[in-house]
Symmetry: C2
Subunit: 283 residues, 2 copies
């Protein structure tokens, strides 16, 4: 599909892209780069990459496709740092969890002969680092492709969509701003809720945790995620996340008030509405 | 361990008790009763019970141990309805999710020659009904044993604890009121949070749900639970649940305010605190 694929940032997502691209034969040559040499070295040692240069310029020089898989708030900056070293016709995409801000910077940074197309695979884990990478991470998962109207090359957007589909994901096209509103609700809000729930429980004895069933475990799972990655995501998308948390607070207060006023009918109405939505989840 | 075991209410929990008791050889004779004859009939047809009488009196008459596994707000009433039909020396326990209120009613209902001991296994599923029952449901799960000081017979409490341990659970002793405070936080609050989160998402297009990764799926899983069962639990324990939701709201507002004021340090502090708590979860 490509001659040379370079992945910048080989944490969970970047290393999984390398593993998936290798397993599916999507590139002849795979290049890993990470600011921490041990992370890109891990990919080299495990045979997920053919080379792992320390210099960023060297990592992208031959690449037909560059995937930036670093934390959300560094994507724009990294696009700027590689722009002078890209080859003619190179495609650049990313896997960042926020799009509006990064997309504007990345587009502005591209030379006329290279093409940026934002992307965001809806896959992850509460584990992080290349040691947690899996070739199947993206299978069946939605992957946002976020072209900017009037800025993103349409052919490049199609090819980047085909790349993510070839990794096993299901491409979904949305504008960068629509993307940020949607993920604020389907990803960042659940993370904020899980973190706040974990903080609530952290005020009580540890022995309580050992009494919990599967519900608390699942509801808080994502709160175990990497702090630096999630700090970056939540701060980068904070305007949308604040709005989403506000909407969630209103539902929570309505539920509490139904209990306070002993209003079984209102409580049932909310439980029914939540269940109907949850039951519609793809199995 | 017992000659005759009667389980009243053969939904997910009750039918799983029958299956586990059968698999582990805990009783010579297993009796299933449910207000819906199809639910107890399901247990009979699958060989999980030896009989499934329609009359409640008949179901408990020979029982050495009666387990009430009906919805939380019916446990006290059912204890009253069976009391006149219990044999001398019978043990009565339950699997209800709230304890303070039910324990007082159940104790008051017992004849002098029978012994009530409250219990609550921390196991369940978003699926319900006997079709979802599993013999392994209680394995490794905590099970609260909730003796009332000065009311519950100590020997009876020990024997009921041994029964739940024999089903594979890990008995944890707590007073009924302590139990209700703990489960308000480790079980009922996560359910309320999941329901409110599902209601928040239900205000947006269904297509958003299809873009979600595993985080939203896990965070809302319990919102798919049976509405009538959860209405009963949340209403029965509403005073403690209201307090727990209030504490959760305060953490959520603190997180939102950290984002609104662009305060990365405060956000990190909360994410760290939540992660430290979540990482302490037994693997």
């Amino acid at each position: 599909m490509f001659d040379t694929l370079a992945v910048l940032g080989t944490g969970l997502i970047g290393a999984s892209i390398l593993r998936a691209a290798k397993a599916r034969g999507l590139a002849r040559r795979l290049v890993a780069w990470d600011i921490r040499a041990d992370a890109s070295g891990h990919c080299l040692e495990n045979g997920w990459a053919h080379e792992a240069p320390q210099a960023l310029a060297e990592a992208v020089r031959e690449a037909d496709l560059v995937v930036i898989a670093t934390p959300a708030d560094t994507v724009g900056e990294l696009a700027g740092r590689i722009s002078a070293h890209l080859k003619h016709g190179a495609l650049v995409t990313d896997a960042g969890s926020t799009k509006g801000h990064a997309a504007r910077i990345a587009h502005a940074a591209m030379p006329a002969y290279a093409f940026y197309v934002g992307a965001h695979p809806m896959a992850g884990s509460e584990k992080n680092g290349p040691g947690a990478a899996r070739a199947e991470l993206f299978e069946g998962r939605a992957c946002f492709i976020t072209p900017m109207a009037g800025r993103t090359d349409e052919d490049a957007a199609l090819r980047v969509g085909e790349f993510w589909a070839a990794l096993g994901a299901r491409p979904v096209t949305a504008s960068p701003d629509d993307h940020d509103e949607i993920v604020a609700h389907v990803s960042h809000l659940p993370h904020a809720a899980a973190a706040a729930l974990a903080c609530t429980l952290a005020n009580h004895p540890d022995s309580w945790r050992e009494c919990a069933g599967g519900g608390l475990r699942d509801t808080t799972r994502v709160a175990g995620g990497d702090v630096e990655i999630w700090r970056a995501i939540l701060m980068e998308n904070r305007h949308e996340v604040v709005r989403a948390i506000g909407a969630f607070e209103r539902e929570l207060v309505a539920l509490r008030e139904a209990l306070e006023s002993n209003d079984s009918t209102r409580l049932c109405e909310m439980l029914e509405r939540g269940k109907a939505w949850r039951d519609g989840f793809p199995a």
